[in-house]
C-alpha cells in the first residue's frame, strides 16, 4: 500500500502548494486592486484616520486636514469651498472622492509608492507616511474673477469658465456654476452627509457636475475659429480673401438655405474673411465649410484636440466631437458650430490658447507639482505639446489679427481692455427652441504677447431670450479674467 500513499503525499503537497500560491496572489499581487475597491471600509477608515495632505493654490490651502475629536482623527476642511469646489472635489466617507481629491488620492493619502522611497521599514510594518501635498496651477486672481463674474449673473446661473496659459497649458481658472460646499460631504456626521448628498443630487443645475470639463455643448460661432484656421491652413485663403457675404446660403442637395443670424447681409454680396469673422457671418463660413469639405474641417478640429482626451491632473474629461459621415448641408452647419459639433468649455479655451500660442497647442494640466510631507518635490509637471500643430505661425498670426478686429469693431467690443490688445470671438448657439441659447465668448490677451486664453460659456442665466448673447453675458466675464491675469 506504500506506492499509493507516496503518490497521495505528492498530491497533498500539490494541494498545499496551490494554497500557498493562491494566498500569495491574494495578499501580494491582488492586494492593491482589492485595497482600491470603493467598498473597502478598511482602507477608507485608515485614510480617514491619517493626516491627509493639503491641496494648495498659490501657496494657500484650499483643502486641508485638521485634527478632529470624533470617531476619526482628522477632518477634511475646505476654507474657500464654493470657489474651488470643482477643482478640489470632495472627500466623503460615504460617497468616495472626486476631482483632485480622487485623481491625486495616492499622494494625498500617503499611499503613493514614491513616498516609500528609502522607507523599507515603513513598508515592512505596513505603516504609511503622512500624505504629500498637491499644488494646483490655478491663479487665485483669475479664479476669483471668473467666480465673481459668474456669481454676478445670479448664484443659480449655469455657466463655466476655463482660463489657460497659452505657452504652457496651465489651467489658470476653472469655474463651474452652480457650485457646492464640499465641507457638507466631508463631514463625519453621516446622517447630515446623506441629506446633503440627496439635496445636491436633486438640486437644479446639478451643482456636483463640472460643466467646464465634463460636458460638451454646441460651440456655435466660436467654432468659426476652427473653420477659419482650416481655411488659412489650406493655402487658398488669407485674411483679405473675398468670401460670400449675402443674406443666405443655398445648401446643396436640399431646398434649405442657411441665413445669417440677424437676417441681413454681412456687408455686401462678397466680404473679406476678416470682415466675415468680425460680424460672425454664417453665410461666409458655411460657404468656406462647403469649399473645404468635412474632412479638412475634421482634421483641423482634431489637431485642436477634438476627439481626444488630453486633460491632465483631473479625471472625467468629456471628449469634444466633430461629427463624422456628414453630407454637404451638415458640413455647412458644422462649419458654423451647429449640427452635431460639440465642445467643452475646456476645448474652446484650448482652441483659443492654441491660436494665441502661434498654432501649437499645449496639453492643459491642473496639477503643478506634488511634494512629499517633508516638502521635497516628487514631481513637477512640465508643459507638453499636443501631438499635432494646428496651424502655422504666420496663419496663427493672421487669425489673431482677425480676432483683434472682432473685439475692436466687431461682435466682441464688450471685452475691450483699455491699452491692451484683445483677440476674441463671440458665439450664441441654438440647440433647440425649448431651451435658451448658449452664450459663448473666447478670447486671449495681450494679442501680441498672450498671457491668458479664456473660454466662457453661459448655459442658462435665467434672462430673457433676446438678451442672451456671447458679447452681452459671456464677454464681460472673460474680460475680468484677462484683466486679473494681466494686471499682476
Amino acid at each position: 500500500m506504500n506506492t499509493p500513499i507516496r503518490r497521495l503525499a505528492v498530491a497533498c503537497m500539490v494541494l498545499f502548494l496551490a494554497l500557498l500560491l493562491n494566498a500569495s496572489y491574494v495578499q501580494y499581487f491582488q492586494a492593491d486592486e482589492l485595497n482600491d475597491r470603493s467598498g473597502n471600509r478598511r482602507v477608507l477608515d485608515a485614510e480617514f484616520s491619517r493626516k491627509r495632505g493639503p491641496i494648495l493654490v498659490a501657496g494657500r490651502q484650499v483643502a486641508e486636514s485638521v485634527k478632529s475629536d470624533d470617531q476619526f482623527e482628522y477632518q477634511r476642511r475646505y476654507p474657500t469651498p464654493f470657489k474651488y469646489a470643482h477643482a478640489t472635489g470632495f472627500y466623503s466617507y460615504l460617497y468616495g472622492f472626486s476631482a483632485v481629491e480622487s485623481s491625486q488620492n495616492q499622494i494625498l493619502s500617503g499611499s503613493d509608492p514614491r513616498l516609500f522611497v528609502d522607507r523599507f521599514l515603513d513598508m515592512l510594518s505596513n505603516s504609511q507616511p503622512d500624505g504629500g501635498q498637491v499644488s494646483l496651477t490655478l491663479d487665485p486672481r483669475a479664479q476669483t474673477a471668473a467666480f465673481d463674474g459668474v456669481q454676478a449673473l445670479g448664484s443659480g446661473t449655469e455657466a463655466a469658465v476655463v482660463a489657460l496659459e497659452p505657452s504652457t497649458g496651465r489651467i489658470l481658472a476653472m469655474v463651474s456654476n452652480p457650485t457646492y460646499d464640499p465641507n457638507l460631504l466631508a463631514s463625519h456626521d453621516i446622517a447630515a452627509v446623506e441629506r446633503s448628498w440627496r439635496r445636491l443630487n436633486d438640486a437644479p443645475g446639478n451643482p456636483l457636475f463640472n460643466r467646464a470639463i465634463q460636458e460638451t455643448y454646441p460651440p456655435g460661432s466660436t467654432f468659426k475659429l476652427v473653420t477659419a484656421a482650416a481655411a488659412l491652413e489650406s493655402g487658398d485663403y488669407d485674411p483679405d480673401t473675398m468670401v460670400p457675404g449675402g443674406a443666405e446660403l443655398d445648401l446643396p442637395q436640399s431646398s434649405a438655405t442657411l441665413p445669417n443670424s440677424g437676417g441681413g447681409t454681412c456687408g455686401g454680396e462678397e466680404v473679406t474673411l476678416t470682415r466675415a469673422l468680425e460680424v460672425s457671418c454664417n453665410v461666409a463660413f458655411g460657404a468656406i465649410g462647403l469649399d473645404l469639405g468635412d474632412d479638412a474641417l475634421r482634421e483641423t478640429a482634431e489637431k485642436f484636440g477634438f476627439g481626444s482626451r488630453y486633460l491632465q491632473g483631473i479625471g472625467g474629461q468629456a471628449v469634444s466631437q466633430f461629427p463624422s459621415d456628414i453630407d454637404q448641408p451638415q458640413t455647412a452647419l458644422s462649419a458654423i458650430g451647429q449640427f452635431d459639433v460639440r465642445a467643452s468649455p475646456l476645448q474652446m479655451a484650448l482652441v483659443t490658447a492654441t491660436i494665441a500660442n502661434g498654432g501649437q497647442g499645449m496639453v492643459p494640466y491642473l496639477v503643478d507639482e506634488v511634494r512629499a510631507p517633508d516638502l521635497s518635490v516628487l514631481e513637477k509637471t512640465s508643459p507638453e505639446e499636443l501631438p499635432d500643430r494646428a496651424l502655422g505661425a504666420s496663419e496663427a498670426n493672421a487669425l489673431t489679427q482677425m480676432m483683434v478686429e472682432v473685439v475692436d469693431q466687431g461682435t466682441g467690443t464688450t471685452a475691450q481692455i483699455p491699452g491692451i490688445k484683445v483677440a476674441g470671438k463671440t458665439g450664441t448657439a441654438q440647440s433647440s427652441p425649448e431651451r435658451p441659447p448658449y452664450a459663448w465668448f473666447v478670447s486671449f490677451a495681450p494679442a501680441d504677447d498672450p498671457q491668458v486664453a479664456v473660454a466662457v460659456l453661459v448655459e442658462d442665466a435665467g434672462v430673457e431670450r433676446d438678451l442672451i448673447s456671447g458679447s452681452g453675458l459671456a464677454a464681460p466675464i472673460a474680460k475680468a479674467v484677462m484683466e486679473a491675469v494681466i494686471g499682476q
Binding site: 506504500n2 497533498c12 498545499f16 493562491n22 482589492l34
Partner: protein
C-alpha cells in the same frame, strides 16, 4: 523515497524516542500561543489581558500534561505532531480572543474549555488504548455509531439549524456538531473494513471498460455505509462535509486496493454530482457564483469579499495582532479564522499556518508509510487525508481558490466538536506512530545449539 526498506515496507531505521525534542518544540509552540494572546491584548487595548498569567499557566499545564502522558504511554511517538497542534490551538485561541475583544462576545472562554476537554480525551486515548489494532474489532460498531451520530441532528427536538445547515444538536445550551466525531469513527470503520476485504476488492470481480469492478458482496456494506452518510449530509445541506467524506472514502479505497481506476471513477462521479447539485440546489449555485465573482453582489457574498479585503489589507507582514479589522469579516472566529490570521499576521503568518497544517499531513502519511499493519496504515492515511482535504477546502474557500463550503479549520475555529474530535485524532496518530517507531522485540530464531546433539545410534 529511497530509504532502505524490506519488501514489506518496514524500514530498517531504528527510531529514537525524541521526547526531549518534543518538549523543546512544545516550549516554542507555547511561546507562539501565549505570545499571540499577549499581543492581542496589547494591540487592542494597549495592555496585557487581565487573566494573562492564569491563562498562560493553564495553557502550559495542558501542553506539559499532554507531553507527560505521551512520555509515559507512547515514548516512541512522533515528536512533531503535539507541538504543531499546540501552536495551532494557541494561535486559534488568541484569534478568537481577538474577536471577543472587538465584538464583546465570550467565545474564547468556551473554546478554552473545549480545548481542555480535547486534551483530556487525547490523554485518555493514549492511556486506555495501548494498541491501535484493537479498534479493528469494532469495525461495524464504529460504522453504525457514525451513521447514528450523523442522523442525530435530523431528530426532532434535538437537532438545530444554524446558518442554513442542520448539522447541530443542542443539549442544555451547548451546541455540538456530531459530524465531526462521525468523521473519526468513519475513518476507523473504513480502515477496518478495507483491510479485511482489500484483496477481494482488488482481485475478484469483473472487468468493465478497463476498470476492475469488485463483487457487490465485497463492496456492498461499505458502499452502503458511505452512501448513507453522504445522503444524510446532502439532506443536511452540509456541502463541506459531503465533499470531505467523499474524498476520504475514495482515497482510502485507492490506497487499499492500489487501483488508480477508483480515483478516475470517483472524480467523474464527483464532477457530475457537483454539476447536478449546482443545477438543483440554489445554495450550491450561490456558492459557485460567489466564487466566480464575489464583487457582483457584495451583500450576498459579503463574507468572502470582506475576507479578501482583510487579507489584502494584511499584505506581506500583516497589520499586527489586534491592529487590523478582522471583526469586519463575518464568522472570523470560526469558518473565516484563516482570513483573520491573514489580515493580522499577513501572508507570512498565513503561509506559516498552511505549512503547519502541511506538517500534520506529512507526519500522518509518514506514519502510514512505516506502519507494519494494514489497518494502522489505512487509519493513518485516512486521518492525514481528512486534515489535508479539510484544510484545502476551508483555506481554498476563504482565499477564493475554490468555491466556499463551510468547514471548520482544525484546532482553530471556534467549536467544541471539531476541537475534541481533532485532539482524539492526534491521540490515535501518536498511538500508531508509537507502535511503528518502537523497535521490534528482539526475537532471534533459536539456533541449532549445543543442546541438540546428533546422537549416533550405532
Amino acid at each position: 523515497m529511497s530509504a532502505p526498506t524490506t519488501p514489506t515496507g518496514v524500514s530498517d531505521i531504528v527510531h529514537r524516542k525524541r521526547r526531549g525534542a518534543e518538549l523543546f518544540l512544545l516550549v516554542l509552540a507555547l511561546a507562539v500561543g501565549i505570545g499571540a494572546y499577549a499581543a492581542v491584548g496589547l494591540g487592542v487595548e494597549g495592555e496585557l489581558p487581565g487573566d494573562m498569567y492564569g491563562y498562560s499557566a493553564w495553557l502550559a499545564a495542558l501542553a506539559i500534561g499532554a507531553h507527560v502522558v505521551v512520555r509515559l504511554t507512547a515514548p516512541y511517538a512522533d515528536p512533531v505532531l503535539l507541538p504543531v497542534v499546540t501552536a495551532l490551538n494557541g494561535l486559534g485561541l488568541a484569534m478568537i480572543y481577538r474577536w471577543d475583544l472587538a465584538r464583546e462576545t465570550g467565545y474564547s472562554t468556551k473554546q478554552l474549555t473545549w480545548t481542555t476537554l480535547g486534551v483530556v480525551l487525547f490523554a485518555m486515548v493514549l492511556l486506555l488504548l495501548r494498541d491501535h489494532r484493537r479498534l479493528q474489532a469494532y469495525t461495524y460498531t464504529t460504522g453504525l455509531a457514525a451513521i447514528v451520530l450523523l442522523l442525530l441532528p435530523l431528530a426532532p427536538g434535538l437537532g438545530k439549524t444554524i446558518n442554513g445547515a442542520r448539522i447541530w444538536i443542542g443539549i442544555a445550551g451547548w451546541s455540538f456538531q456530531p459530524g465531526e466525531v462521525a468523521k473519526v469513527l468513519l475513518v476507523i470503520a473504513f480502515a477496518g473494513y478495507l483491510v479485511l476485504h482489500r484483496d477481494a476488492l482488488a482481485l475478484a470481480g469483473r472487468r468493465f471498460i478497463g476498470i476492475d469492478l469488485p463483487r457487490m458482496r465485497d463492496l456492498g456494506p461499505i458502499l452502503l455505509m458511505w452512501l448513507i452518510s453522504l445522503g444524510v449530509l446532502v439532506l443536511q445541506r452540509d456541502l463541506g462535509s459531503s465533499l470531505l467524506f467523499f474524498g476520504l472514502f475514495l482515497v482510502m479505497l485507492y490506497v487499499a486496493t492500489e487501483r488508480p481506476g477508483w480515483l478516475v471513477v470517483g472524480s467523474l462521479m464527483f464532477v457530475s454530482g457537483a454539476a447536478l447539485a449546482s443545477q438543483v440546489y440554489s445554495h450550491v449555485q450561490t456558492r459557485v457564483e460567489g466564487w466566480l465573482d464575489p464583487f457582483s453582489d457584495t451583500d450576498t457574498y459579503g463574507q468572502i469579499v470582506e475576507g479578501l479585503y482583510g487579507m489584502a489589507w494584511g499584505g506581506l507582514v500583516g497589520r499586527g495582532l489586534g491592529q487590523g479589522d478582522p471583526w469586519r469579516i463575518p464568522f472570523a472566529y470560526s469558518d473565516f479564522i484563516v482570513a483573520a490570521v491573514g489580515e493580522e499576521l499577513g501572508l507570512t503568518g498565513l503561509m506559516a499556518l498552511i505549512i503547519l497544517f502541511g506538517l500534520i499531513v506529512e507526519r500522518a502519511l509518514r506514519t502510514a508509510l512505516i506502519c507494519r499493519d494494514g489497518f494502522g496504515k489505512l487509519m493513518a492515511t485516512g486521518f492525514g487525508i481528512v486534515f489535508a482535504l479539510q484544510v484545502f477546502v476551508v483555506v481554498g474557500g476563504v482565499t477564493k481558490l475554490i468555491p466556499l463550503t463551510g468547514l471548520t479549520t482544525p484546532f482553530m475555529s471556534h467549536g467544541g466538536s471539531s476541537m475534541i474530535a481533532n485532539w482524539v485524532v492526534i491521540g490515535l496518530l501518536l498511538r500508531i506512530s508509537d507502535q511503528v517507531r518502537r523497535p521490534l522485540p528482539d526475537v532471534r530464531p533459536l539456533e541449532m545449539d549445543d543442546a541438540t546433539q546428533v546422537v549416533k545410534l550405532r
